[in-house]
């Protein structure tokens, strides 16, 4: 049986509320407030499913995703947000040896779609 968006959202249900947020700024705050164990658990849940998730999402036009597919896409964007922390920064929730992250104002330009 072919997996659906709903199947993946059910499997990833424990992470949807925390990591399904819309904007990069929200994902960044969520990551800074997480523990190393939180990041690792979300990473371990997402990585083995990524190929399948992208395949399912690619059934829809990217600029007309149904709401639940948008939530699933947000989870992949949250993986993008936290992956460097697991893969490069030894699990640190903040960027090591960095400028104060809260002083970076992040803004997606108005002419973009997503």
């Amino acid at each position: 049986m072919t997996a659906t968006v709903a199947d993946y959202l059910k499997e990833l249900e424990p992470w949807v509320e925390t990591w399904g947020v819309m904007t990069q700024a929200e994902r960044e705050v969520t990551r800074r407030n997480a523990t190393s164990a939180d990041l690792q658990a979300f990473y371990d849940a997402m990585v083995p499913r990524m190929e399948g998730i992208i395949e399912v999402l690619n059934r829809y036009p990217i600029d007309a995703l149904p709401e639940n597919a948008r939530t699933l896409l947000n989870l992949t964007l949250a993986l993008a947000e936290i992956a460097p922390h697991v893969e490069f920064y030894n699990g640190a929730p903040g960027v090591p040896y960095a400028f104060e992250e809260e002083r970076f104002i992040s803004e997606r330009a108005h002419w973009t779609r997503l």
Partner: protein, 395 residues
């Protein structure tokens, strides 16, 4: 890694010398005053992309705190983009009360103080209670214009009432070198900005060499780039060079996924760039991205599949408004969207690593402990910037 050709750039550009450089230009309020008057009020400065102003009457208000000025750039009904001081002709209030982009409704730009209204060519359209003024010459009550021009979709202004050069003349060989890249197709833009407590040159210098990549970016770009520069070009006041990919290393799982779904990322590995780059740029297979600096303060980095920019606008001698923008093409599917996000946050993190040095550098220089700095051959762009600024303020 040691540079394979020690002294290669010093030999190519002997006029710049090889000695230490003074610290004074980074700290002196008097020096900054002259930079303000002779550099920033004389040179063309980037203020927008045309995509930010897609329709007639779309505008953007840009602050230039060093000049105590705000500039409005607005697209006219005739499609031309013009610039004006954001200062009402009546009693000088700001016509638009907030910076950033907006749209002037049918009537035009309306000053909220008393309702004076301006058209997109700066002309006064209406003055409430006009009959109560005395011989008001509305023809001469337009907004004060600022020289404005567009190159490759980048909107520039020049605060000099009579600029010595057109934008095209000012950009010269640099404009020709960077022309033809499909900037206008990268309409997904993400901006990061902050006020840095440092001189604008301290900030810009940190983005003008690759010597720091093994130390500062050991976290975000392990094995990402080498310290070597490719094909350094000094083009009038501007300069450009290639930054190299490093050899070896295999990416961890999510990095590898990102590279597979899209190659439009500064974090990509093992792809030979070149196809969308202009003919003069990126002809070495190690080329990762071009680091081009449009004097005085605008850095444009082009690579296959995206580009990104930095701008360092001085506020005063000790404070700088930094804005870094990453531009991507609209993603065609979810895999590309994911990949763009991955490349974007990794680069944001690298910028957090870069900006971490700047305030400490400035603070430590202010101690007065050092009167000069030492530059190696790969820091030639820093040497050139100091040279050009110094020549300009002493002219």
């Amino acid at each position: 890694m040691n540079a394979p050709n020690p002294g290669i750039w010093a030999k190519k550009f002997p006029d710049l010398g090889t000695g230490p450089v003074p610290v004074d230009p980074y700290l002196s309020p008097e020096y900054f005053e002259r930079e303000k008057e002779k550099v920033f009020k004389k040179c063309w400065l980037k203020v927008a992309r045309v995509e930010e102003l897609p329709q007639a009457r779309d505008y953007k208000v840009v602050p230039f705190e060093f000049a105590s000025a705000e500039i409005i750039v607005i697209r006219g009904e005739d499609d031309q983009i013009r610039g004006f001081y954001n200062t009402c002709s009546h009693r000088g209030n700001k016509v638009v009360w907030r910076t950033g982009t907006g749209h002037a409704r049918g009537g035009g730009l309306v000053c909220r103080f008393h309702g004076w209204t301006y058209g997109t060519q700066g002309e006064v359209r209406s003055v409430p209670e006009e009959g109560a003024f005395f011989d008001l010459d509305k023809e001469n009550c337009g907004l004060t214009p600022v020289a404005t021009d567009v190159w490759e979709g980048f909107v520039f202004v020049n605060l000099d009432p009579e600029p010595a050069q057109t934008l095209k003349e000012f950009l010269g060989a640099m404009g020709e070198r960077l022309a033809g890249f499909p900037y206008g197709t990268f309409t997904e833009a993400h901006t990061y900005r902050t006020v840095l407590n440092c001189n604008w040159k301290v900030a810009q210098d940190a983005f003008s060499e690759a010597y720091h990549v093994n130390t500062i970016h050991a976290g975000s770009f392990p094995d990402g780039f080498s310290t070597e520069l490719l094909d350094v070009q000094l083009l009038g006041p501007h300069h450009s060079c290639g930054v190299c990919q490093a050899e070896g290393g295999s990416p961890p799982p999510v990095a590898a996924l990102s590279h597979r779904f899209s190659t439009a990322s500064i974090a990509k590995r093992g792809e030979k760039s070149g196809s969308m780059l202009p003919p003069q740029v990126g002809n070495d297979p190690r080329h990762a991205f071009e680091l081009a600096v449009i004097f005085p303060n605008y850095l444009v980095h082009i690579l296959d599949g995206m580009y990104f920019t930095h701008q360092f606008t001085p506020i005063d001698v000790d404070h700088t408004l930094w804005e870094g923008i990453q531009y991507f093409a609209p993603p065609q599917d979810a895999g590309q969207r994911f990949s763009h996000e991955y490349g974007q946050v990794l680069q944001r993190n690298a910028w957090l690593e870069d900006t971490a040095t700047m305030e400490d550098t400035h603070a430590a220089l202010k101690s007065g402990a050092k009167s000069q700095m030492y530059l190696q051959d790969g820091e030639i762009l820093i040497r050139h910037l100091l040279h050009v600024v110094d020549a300009m303020i002493n002219a």
